[in-house]
Amino acid sequence: MSQANTRPKPFLLPDYCKGCGRCVQVCVQGCISFAKEINPETGMVPVLLDLAKCTGCGLCIEACPEPYGLRAMEAGESFELQDPATLFGPKRSTAPDPVDIPGRTIPLPAAEPLVIKGTYASALGALLAGCRHVFGYPITPSTEGAELMAKLLPKMDGFYLQAVSEVATVYHMYGCAGAGLPCMTFTSSPGFSLMLEGVSYMIGSQLPGVFVDIMRGGPGLGNIGPEQADIKLACRGLGHGNTHAITLMPSTPQEMLDLSYLAFELSFKYRSPVVVLADGYLGQMTGRVQLPTAMIEPGLPAWAVYGDAAHRKNLHTSVFLDEPTLEALNVKLNAKYEAMQAEARAESFQAADAEVLLVACNTPARASKGAAQKLRDQGIKAGLFRPITMWPFPIEQLKPLLANVKQIVVVEASAGQIEDELRLALSHAGITDPPPITHIQRYGGVLPQEKDVVAHVQNLMGRA
């Protein structure tokens, strides 16, 4: 049996043995035995090796579950115990430090405006922003966006995948975004609720992704009419933990495109999900949409877990068992949320000298704009303040308008979710004595109408 003599015998550092005894079981020569002595370093009871009769069969090595447990002793090595640090370390991973591969901006030839519905406009915005991966689960009234993507993406060699649920959807996004690529979903309120756990994971792991939520009537299954009742979810309830994401509020099919396009840029800039909140009307509404002047071919960020040599070093995780480490992540996220305040956006209409300031988003902002015009015709100085980001709330844009304002009227299709954001923003800004705030609220798939706004303001100003 000359071969047996040349086969390497096992070697074991007792510190790395937990004494499970799988090796004891397989050694026919009885070279390995359970011991009784507790290793003072580990508190474990490592096995004992007596290799006098060892044939080097290797079964013990194969049976050992520890990467640095039993291993073959190479020729020339000694049995003597060695310092583990010199035996195994400091061998480092050979994985290289990844670098950013920048994207590029590609000019688009001029095109005539399209006449398309809001969900389509949003889909085109995503395509133009470089998104080639869309995941989703059908839900009215958002599905047309996914349907258009399923039709268009193959033409751009992209990928649409219908997930088994909204829960699976958000984790498809987690994986795809983890690989460093722009991705998105179309959903509607009940679906968005289901995605929130994953949004929290994306925020924790600092992954980008765009969620277009076409809000419908709730609670529960509700209906498929327009509502604005997911604002508290997007602004205050993105899953568990300290979470925030930039929340964009389009009010026209054009903005469905523009803000979806912008959402990708912001999402990668901050390595964080971005939510586009539209009401059911906006999703379904057809209107004029002008294409931008350029489209994006995304690069590949240094942080991607792409599945190649350049990114082997990377890890995405949101689990940090060590409390100081997790607190440090939260501090970092809070700093990021602070930096996101710079992205606050708003539009004003006849607001500079307004005495009655309407505050509205999405489709109700259109009705409010019409109302402001009608009220001006009647000699009431009405204006509109339209937050384009609901989080962060554009308080800095609002502040200078407040000088002449005698009444603030919040017009919304929810039970005060926009008003809550407004009041919170005023409070945080130290505005303790804001003008009186009243509201027009509709729910359940009904939107406030222009005439409702006009009547409310007339009443408020004693002109009824």
């Binding site: 790395y16 937990k18 499970c20 005894g21 370093e41 079964l59 194969e62 049976a63 050992c64 579950p65 520890e66 990467p67 640095y68 583990p84 195994f88 370390g89 400091p90 061998k91 590609i106 000019p107 688009l108 030839p109 001029a110 005539e112 519905k117 085109l124 395509l127 470089g130 995941f135 751009m156 990928f159 088994v164 829960v167 699976a168 984790y171 994986g175 690989a179 991705c183 994953g198 792991s205 099919p253 509404m285 057809t286 209107g287 004029r288 294409l291 489209m295 877990v305 792409y306 599945g307 190649d308 990377n314 890890l315 995405h316 995780t317 689990v319 259109r366 009705a367 704009k369 109408q449």
Partner: protein, 475 residues
């Protein structure tokens, strides 16, 4: 020692002390062996750089402490969904799901089954130890009948279900190319386990499909026994319920190569139907005779009447003429039949209220629509309705003009019921003069440019609808 393991486990308590070269698993746990065989297979197949290991929730949550590959840790049960995301982002990546029984067979069952049926080439290593380890010994979906756990203290019984055989379940799906159940309790079984894990990775490397290896593993800690007895328990108790062996070994052709993502602007513009050609205008000015700045229309019928199609045409025509236009559809729950109505606005500058609660113009395809919306038309407004299906229509407001046109009869005479809506569009044009006929016809032709053969019929339907409306207005 496999090169696919880190030289020092720096993520394990910063690699300090013993943890730098030691796993976090209990003595006798099966995970260490599964990790080792996985690492060795990665090494032997030369795929370390390409590998993305999807870390589960459960005892193996910290796979990334050890595997020197790309790593993503995900939520409980979401490994396959996450893996699919990685795989479609980079089809050349070697994506591995490493999951426990709670992760794969309880909370993640929907994702597990749907991903297996999808068959996308990923590798799933399923560690079945019949108990929840990380949370402290609760009942798993694979817990055996009679087995005591902290949540089946008197032993699993009918009320708590019975163990689910995942390998068999996965094997009967169309998607997977290779499914095997292996164990770790003897040298022979370990050899098979290692071979199975390597083969499952090879199936992915060769792009043949989804591969699944169920590993019966020991959890002496929560079996409350010794490592040695745990091995005996797996052999004697688990094997009768979870028989070992290859459950599926198909010979699939490799999946197609995923093409490189496209970013050609011309292709994109063509795909989305954008054109640089300015549409011709025919309007002399805004149709102020209907409303000075913003005309509100409602079109209502049954699903399938085509109300939405012509609503869209009107909005499109408005924008082609340089005005603003919007269209909002509303449907009943039915795909065909049921109610279907459309609110359309045509505005000189900007539509503020896209809904039409009090339309200037109302087009009704049937009697229920007339009943529902007839009285919402504003004073002085116009109603155009299908008098082939609704008879003797009167309004309470005498200022509203009511024009009956037999949409259905005309369409039937033309031999195609589907042009009923175009008959209505022609009638609407003639009755309201919202736009010149040519505006709507140009938009109609553009919409039908891919089905050019249908254009003459549609033009005829439009003309007949318009003629019938003119005739009706004379009466």
């Amino acid at each position: 020692m496999s090169n696919a393991f880190y030289g020092t486990f720096e993520r394990h308590s910063d690699g300090k002390g013993l943890k730098g070269h030691s796993t976090h698993y209990c003595a006798g746990c099966g995970h260490g062996l599964a990790h080792k065989y996985l690492a060795e297979a990665i090494d032997e197949l030369g795929i370390q750089d390409d590998t993305v290991a999807v870390n589960p929730v459960g005892c193996a949550a910290f796979l990334y402490f050890y595997l020197d590959t790309g790593n993503t840790s995900t939520a409980h049960g979401r490994s396959p969904a996450t893996a699919v995301g990685h795989k479609v982002a980079n089809p050349n990546a070697m994506v591995i799901c490493y999951q426990g029984d709670g992760d794969l067979a309880a909370i993640g069952l929907a994702e597990t089954i749907s991903t297996a049926q999808l068959g996308i080439p990923i590798t799933v290593i399923f560690i079945n130890n019949a108990v929840y380890g990380m949370t402290g010994g609760q009942m798993a979906p694979t817990t055996l009948m009679g087995q005591t756990t902290t949540t089946s203290p008197d032993g699993r019984d009918r009320l708590t279900g019975s163990p689910i055989r995942m390998a068999e379940l996965i094997a009967q799906l169309d998607g997977p190319v290779y499914v095997e159940r292996v164990a770790l309790f003897s040298p022979a079984e370990r050899k098979k386990a290692k071979r199975a894990i390597k083969k499952a990775l090879l199936m992915q490397k060769e792009r043949r499909g989804y591969a699944f290896v169920e590993v019966l593993a020991e959890c002496p800690t929560h079996l409350k026994t010794t490592p040695e007895k745990a091995m005996t328990w797996v052999k004697e108790q688990m094997l009768p319920i979870f028989p070992l062996g290859v459950k599926k070994d198909a010979n699939f052709e490799p999946w197609f190569e995923m093409p490189k993502l496209g970013f050609d602007p011309t292709t994109l513009l063509k795909a989305i139907g954008a054109s640089s050609e300015k549409p011709a205008g025919f309007c002399k000015g805004f149709p102020t005779h209907l409303n000075p700045t913003d005309i509100s229309l409602k079109l209502a019928g049954s699903g399938g009447d085509g109300a939405q199609t012509i609503a869209m045409l009107i909005a499109k025509a408005a924008i082609n003429e340089g005005f603003d236009g919007t269209h909002i559809p509303a449907y009943g729950p039915e795909s065909r039949g049921g109610t279907s109505y459309a609110d359309v606005h045509v505005a000189l500058e900007e539509v503020h209220n896209p809904a039409s609660p009090h339309p200037d113009v109302f087009v009704a395809f049937n009697a229920p629509s007339l009943a529902k919306f007839g009285n919402t038309v504003r004073p002085g407004g116009i109603i155009i309705y299908d008098n082939a299906v609704a008879k003797d229509v009167k309004t309470t407001d005498p200022t509203v003009k009511v024009i009956g046109v037999p949409f259905t009869d005309i369409a039937a005479r033309l031999g195609k019921m589907v042009v009923k809506n175009i008959v209505a569009l022609g009638a609407l044009q003639a009755a309201t003069e919202l736009f010149p006929a040519e505006t709507l016809l140009a938009t109609l032709r553009d919409t039908l440019k891919d089905k050019a053969a249908l254009i003459p019929l549609n033009e005829k339907a439009f003309a007949e609808g318009a003629a019938a409306a003119r005739e009706a207005m004379k009466r």
